[in-house]
């Protein structure tokens, strides 16, 4: 009721391959989710007119080389801030998955090279 060392090695590299696939699938879904969320930062502009002060909110984001300032009605600011915060979370998770994928790719390519060399001997 035991597996040989060669089989164990196969199990480990298979598991790493599955983990890579899982991370890639998750990354794809995270990137899709993040693309549906707004990007940028909210800035505030105060304008004075006669004796009164008026606050306007803008969503500042970049499209290529252009910086866009889009006016946001006050009632939409809170909801937008939540979405921007959520986007940050998604982006952080995306970075973490990209690092993991790079790490797994490195291990798996080393493993392939090792097996390639040993089979040539």
């Amino acid at each position: 009721m035991n597996m040989k060392v060669v089989e164990k090695d196969k199990v480990i590299s298979g598991m790493l391959g599955d983990e890579l696939k899982r991370c890639q699938e998750m990354l794809g879904s995270l990137e899709k989710s993040v693309s549906e969320l707004p990007k940028g930062v909210i800035s505030e502009r105060i304008k004075r007119y006669k004796d009164k002060e008026y606050v306007y909110y803008y969503l500042k984001y970049r499209v290529g080389d252009k910086v866009i300032n889009k006016h946001i009605p006050k009632k939409e600011v809170e909801g937008l801030l939540k979405k921007l915060a959520l986007r940050k979370k998604y982006e952080k998770e995306i970075v973490s998955y990209k690092k993991k994928i790079a790490y797994l790719n490195k291990i798996l390519s080393t493993d392939k090279r090792r097996h390639g060399n040993s089979s040539q001997k």
């Binding site: 009721m1 035991n2 597996m3 089989e7 164990k8 196969k10 199990v11 480990i12 590299s13 298979g14 598991m15 391959g17 599955d18 983990e19 899982r22 991370c23 699938e25 998750m26 794809g28 879904s29 995270l30 899709k32 989710s33 959520l86 979370k89 998604y90 998770e93 973490s96 998955y97 993991k100």
Partner: protein, 227 residues
């Protein structure tokens, strides 16, 4: 069957936190931890040593079409722990945090039908998979003091893996399943194993599957009650 766990740190802190939150919501009254994360539990409780595990944390949950009572909003509970919900291409909703992924599975009756089931009482979606009822029918409770956790008995986990290993589309997953079986095989309780196998109505195809898995790990099929 309830077993007090002496070493409280068998799970990383992030997972302990998740398990504690799910226990507080009453989730383990009718659900359980499954997948490779039961292995640290088996190591602690049953002395089965197996170090490999993936970063996806799977939970098996009971599913009925006629759910009336709402239990708890698990989505909110998990998001409050810092996880983010992710809609996968399959339509299933998973949760992720620092590469850990939380997902749910439910028992699937009959042939392939729906790809997702919505468990409204917990506000989650689950992937329906065959033979999950084997796991859900034979639980044990691990008592960590500040929380309790349900998981399948090793005998149920073993039989489930023997069956599903041969149905896996990928060779690597089948190898992993059978390797786990080969480790568990050392510590199986014969009476409990017999109870699990006898409770199942196994088709000829499934019996053949079981025998094939037994052969790979060199496990005598007679211990499953086969001739």
């Amino acid at each position: 069957m309830e077993i007090a766990v002496k070493n409280k740190d068998i799970f990383p802190e992030a997972i302990q936190e998740l398990l504690h939150a799910l226990y507080s919501a009453g989730f383990f009254e009718e659900a359980m931890l499954v997948g490779s994360w039961v292995m640290p539990l088996y190591q602690e409780v049953f002395g089965l040593s197996y170090a490999l595990r993936t970063l996806d944390i799977d939970f098996a949950v009971k599913f009925a079409y006629t759910e009336k009572d709402k239990k708890a909003d698990l989505e909110k509970i998990i998001i409050d722990l810092g996880y983010i919900p992710v809609l996968m291409q399959s339509g299933i909703r998973k949760f992720t945090r620092e590469n850990f992924t939380v997902e749910f599975v439910a028992h699937r009756k009959g042939s392939r039908g729906e790809r997702i089931v919505s468990i409204r009482k917990w506000n989650i979606t689950a992937s329906p998979l065959p033979f999950i009822d084997i796991l859900l029918s034979y639980p044990f409770t691990a008592n960590f003091g500040n929380f309790k956790l349900r998981a399948p008995l090793p005998e149920a986990f073993f039989v489930h893996k023997l069956i599903t290993a041969q149905r896996r589309p990928g060779e690597s997953k089948r190898d992993k399943d059978l390797e786990q079986c080969s480790i568990i095989a050392y510590q199986l309780n014969n009476d409990r194993l017999k109870t699990v196998v006898e409770s199942l109505k196994l088709s000829k195809k499934t019996q053949k599957t079981l025998r094939a898995s037994c052969e790979v790990i060199d496990f005598p099929p007679q211990r499953l009650g086969f001739q």
